[in-house]
């Protein structure tokens, strides 16, 4: 399994008065540097339409439920243009294509109109020199392949969460993104929401005292019935749908939405919902992503049926200095992320923010304290960074860390024993079987 690139020996270091240290540089932590002051903001985000040469051209890979939402968002933006859509389902890609072409036909009086390609093979999109960037909303097992190949093809990337099905693929994707200098935003859009940023700033700047517990609650999973194998219906490229997952025959149940709960494609809500609030937990309590973690957890899995990911779970991860992450579904913990410290707590979710003492809600983070990157729009932030070539608010490494934490939590519940996770080595300590669960072989021709 690939290791992170270790430091290269060279001149220069902290003693030459330069604030940039080698470790930060090699970790790709450009986002740790001060947010730029004079980055020109895109004026064409909403309403106004940029001239064709200033629009970012986009191909959308995966236009099911989530993907078509991204297409619709981009269709409304003046600084982007959808040139291609891809989906193994003919109906979905034709629907997306028609929406794009109809929209651009409406606008034809004001600007150029280009046809929109609809294909079942994403490589056609990657081969297009006139496409600058891709949005990826395929199932989890496809994300690293789509994204890494897009990076190698010179495209910038917006990729839905979770980053990957396995830790190994996630790491390989981080390397691919950095290798090719691409701008990558992962779809953990809570980072572009003021309440979440503020809650993390409160936690990081000591407004809660010493943070000792972080609680994350997300919706629980579900079971599915059994489904009979069927011939692949016309209009579905099943080979492309499966991608790297092992061959199992087609059935009517799994190919839209329900794949979230089937382990071959995704580890369930513990992964694909969990990643949102675990990402916030890491943003507000970063040592959870740096120190070794003792993890143990239990889960209830379906006893039969197509679904084999957890329905309800309770996981605890502890650092050596006593910081605990408590991660469960809504049966055990309230939806959202709660940072609890010696002097107070703050709870944040998409529904709002609460704190104890309540006055914390009105606190102002002072100039000299730690400020997190400000993004008002997850898509807008990505498009702006494509211009400036800077890291957006939710980097590939951040996505990898959050995804990894959900994966190792899931592994702990499956193993039913305590494991110790080491971030630097990116492996479990003293547990071969657990480490073998960090990667999965792929169906050919696919490989990371």
């Amino acid at each position: 399994m690939a290791q992170p690139v270790p430091p290269v020996s060279s001149s220069g270091g902290p003693s030459d008065g330069c604030r940039v240290s080698r470790r930060k540089f090699l970790a790709g932590a450009a986002a740790a540097l001060a947010a730029p002051y004079v980055v020109p903001a895109s004026v064409f985000g909403a309403g106004g339409r940029a001239p064709p040469s200033k629009r970012i051209t986009i191909g959308s890979i995966g236009v099911g439920g989530r993907g078509s939402g991204h297409v619709n968002t981009m269709l409304r933006r003046g600084d982007a243009q959808i040139l291609a859509v891809c989906d193994p389902f003919e109906k979905k890609r034709q629907g997306a294509r028609k929406r794009a072409e109809s929209r651009y036909a409406d606008l034809a009086g004001k600007g150029e109109y280009k046809g929109c390609l609809a294909t079942s093979d994403f490589r056609q999109i990657l081969a297009r020199p006139d496409i600058d960037a891709v949005i990826i909303a395929s199932p989890e097992n496809w994300h690293p392949l789509h994204a890494a190949m897009a990076a190698a093809a010179g495209k910038d990337i917006f990729c839905e969460k979770a980053l990957s099905l396995t830790v190994a693929e996630g790491r390989a994707l981080c390397e691919a993104v950095r290798r090719h200098g691409r701008v990558f935003q992962i779809g953990t859009q809570q980072r572009s929401s003021r309440n979440f940023r503020f809650a993390c700033e409160l936690a990081r700047n000591g407004y809660l005292g010493r943070v000792h517990t972080v609680e994350v609650g997300v919706p629980g999973g579900r079971a599915l019935p059994t489904a009979k194998p069927k011939p692949v219906p016309p209009g579905l490229d099943y080979d492309m749908w499966l991608g790297p997952a092992k061959y199992t025959p087609y059935n009517d149940l799994k190919c839209s939405y329900n794949w979230y709960f089937i382990y071959d494609y995704c580890a369930g809500w513990i992964q694909s919902w969990g990643v949102h609030h675990v990402d916030i937990a890491l943003w507000g309590a970063p040592s959870l992503g740096e120190k070794p973690l003792e993890i143990e957890g239990t889960a209830v899995f379906p006893k039969e049926g197509l679904a084999n990911t957890s329905i309800t779970w309770q996981v605890k991860a502890r650092t050596p200095d006593g910081l605990t992450l408590s991660f469960s579904d809504n049966k055990h913990l309230k939806q959202g992320c709660r940072f609890i410290g010696t002097e107070g707590w703050v709870h944040v979710s998409r529904g709002g923010i609460q704190a104890e003492p309540p006055s914390l809600i009105k606190a102002t983070i002072k100039p000299g304290e730690e400020h997190l990157v400000v993004s008002g729009s997850h898509h807008g932030n990505w498009l702006e960074c494509i211009e400036t070539r800077r890291d957006p608010v939710a980097t590939v490494e951040a996505g990898h860390a959050a995804t990894t934490l959900t994966i190792v939590s899931d592994i702990a519940t499956r193993l039913g024993r305590k494991v110790t996770w080491n971030w630097q080595a990116e492996r479990f300590e003293n547990d071969d079987a657990a480490n073998r669960m960090l990667s999965r072989p792929m169906r050919p021709p696919w490989t990371m």
Partner: protein
Amino acid sequence: MKRWIQLSGALALVCLAGSAWAAQPQAQTSVEEAFEQLKAYEYGQNRRPLAMLELAIVRATADPKQGRKMAARLAAILTDAKTTLAAKRFACQQLQVLGAETHVPLLAGMLDTAETADMARRTLETIPGEAAARALRAALARLKGRPLVGVINSLGVRRDAKVTDAIAKLLRSSDPDVAAAAAVTLGKIGTADAAAALRKAQAGARAKQLAVVRNAALRCAEHLAAAGKADDAEAIYRRLWQSKAGVSWRLAALTGLARACPDKAAPLLVKAFGGKDPLLQAAAANLLVQTPGKAATTAIVEQLSRVDARRRVLLLDSLAARGDASAKDAVAKFIDSKDEAVRVAAVHTVAALGDASDVARLVALAGGERGPVGQAARVGLERLSGEGIEKRLIDMAAKGDPATRVEAARAIAARRTPGATPALLQAAADKNETVRLAALDALATVGGAAVYPKLIDLMMGRSTKEVWEAMLRAVSAIGKRIADPEKRVRPVVEALPRSPDPVKVGLLRVLAGFGGREALDAVRRSLKSGEARVRDAAVRALASWPDASAAADLLNVAKDSDSATHRNLALRGYLRLARAAKDKAARLKMLEQVRPVATTAQAKKMLLAALADVPDPAALEMAKSFLDDSQVKAEAELAVRKITGAMKPKRRGGSGKPQPNSSPPMPQVKPSAKTGKAGTRILIITGIDHPGHKWRQTTPVLKEAIEKDPRLAVDVVEDPNFLASPRLHDYAAIVHHWMNWKAAAPGPAARENFRRFVTGGKGLVVVHFGCGAFQDWPEFVKIAGRVWDPKLRGHDPRGPFRVEIADTEHPITRGMKPFETHDELYTCLAGDVPIHVLATARSKVDKKVYPMAFVLTCGKGRVFHSVLGHDVKAFSAPQVGELFRRASAWAAGLPPVARGK
């Protein structure tokens, strides 16, 4: 497809989070039984044994012995000829976690059978050790096509350097997938030999393969750099940089160089930054930022004077991020640039890199520059870090030209500079007004208990209104930060007697911000002041008191004051406190006290408005008692209605999040502005329709047309589910302006309520495509008279046509003349309920005559139905609006044509 998703969705709901799906209760299956059942497993069968084994197997790895036992069982599955393919695939997958060398021969054997090759290969990939590696290597020679690609991939995952030569030969395979896989694997192996093979493969390679080979070379370079072979890595990157490859490859080369050998990369980064390609420019700027060392800083600084304004801004920003102070002097020169963006960036960067010696410069800029540059200087002063800055700021606030002192004071406030208070206090008494104001504002932020009494003393002197307000703000702000209530209030109270009247007025305001017993007593005393403006200030202070301790005083003022203004003020303040009372009972008690005091119309209206928000029978009674009072009858009616509505039992809804199986909250009705004045209430129900019908636009037009009748007040609700509400029966008639296009119509409760509404004797007006609602409800035709039949031709193309009046004696259409309109001439109604046609039109398409408006009785109810009204234009003919207006009055039980207006 959709049906299955819906079905699965329904089943998932049945399952519900928290319960595992179980068809029937089962005795616990043992692992042995599960393995037995597994053998015969086919896809689509009950997955119970697999589900059980998935967890049992992985759990068994806790104990090496148990793990080996499980692995042996899995191997037995694979060797058993009777095992299904699906079972074998499952077994191979489970072995990925606990396969060992002993299993290699079995798996290697499976490589030669097409249907088991890939499952076996995937397991071999995961088994550590030489045996598995050998098996895979051996397969290289035997396999072709996809299976060969799989083996090449597996060897790459394993980074098997021993196979480099064999793989290198495959670079020239005629199978493009094999050639590509070979390149990828060499990239993962990442040795110098692999790199050499990849280099040879670039010559003459086709575009697709060339891309794969280049990418693999980059991966090799990373592995070589990690192994300490920076020179080898550098060679790969330079070759790529100098090649004819496209810009994204050169970007990768540049990035690789910057990581592998930063010092050597710096000149290249500079060159790229100065080049033509915007992608490389921006990337080079970012890489330069991240490249540590003085060499990179120097390179950036050198570029500053050579590039255009846009890139200069990027570079200046990079220097700020790098934090290398040696660049500061060079940067400072650009503060005088002609380009504003450059100036701003330069100021920002100087502040980021600067220290105490830059305070004077930044203060001067903040004071002397308007717009973004001055603003940047202010922000910079806030962020400046290092020794001695606070002292410099305090010195600069104490003396010098006013603009400087003002900015220094501002910076002190922004930075919360400690120890600045004496200097600020002095500045607060300065001759120069701008200095005084800035100092006072700063004190408001940083002042503490020590300066508090001195500030109050300062208030005694003469000053302009602006300064005066600033002093009040400062005293208020500082006072609120003082924790001890006595220390907060006492100095102010003690200052009152010796203050001139204008000062008293201000201090009373401050006391109202504090609250508390001592403050209240002082305000009470001021109520009796001989000075009118002091009394006035006291009343106002009471009216804005933070809690109910002032309630009794306010009531007294409301009762006894000579001044009508004060009586109203006091009443308003009292009612404000009542609103904030801790519970309904407390609130009611306070409102009851108002009753005897509310003698004027205005006071009664205020009381009724407050009562309207208390859902309690006692409040209802009090509101009702005003119904006979002609001064406030309308307000009383409104209050009665509001209280009655609020007292109805609420639906279970709780936190506002939709719970499974609870009803959604009732839709909100938008009331007419005429409510209370017009007697008869009509409700337009809208909110969903065919996309071609812009109900959001037509509804206000329809409402306005109906409300031209002064007797009618039209409310609007944008949700047909309101049909289920008991409040439906508050209305005399409803206008049905909706059609559930591609959505479910309201359910049985709504339908029954609707039916009862009409048959019970109220009125209904159906508009245009309203005839298409409830397609799944056979009863609807009995209410609407006619309904849309999708099998019939829908309508003439939208356009002009003439509407004839079929019955000029009917109250609705009496005296109306034929008229022209622009609309869709509907030809799609069906039904045989008896109706009476009031208006018709002849289709241009089939020349037949169709009804445009008709009436019928439904039980005791009156129904008017018109197919007119497709869009705003269709409502523009005045007769159309008149038709609906008359129809609404008729449906509501009033004679259609209203006199007057």
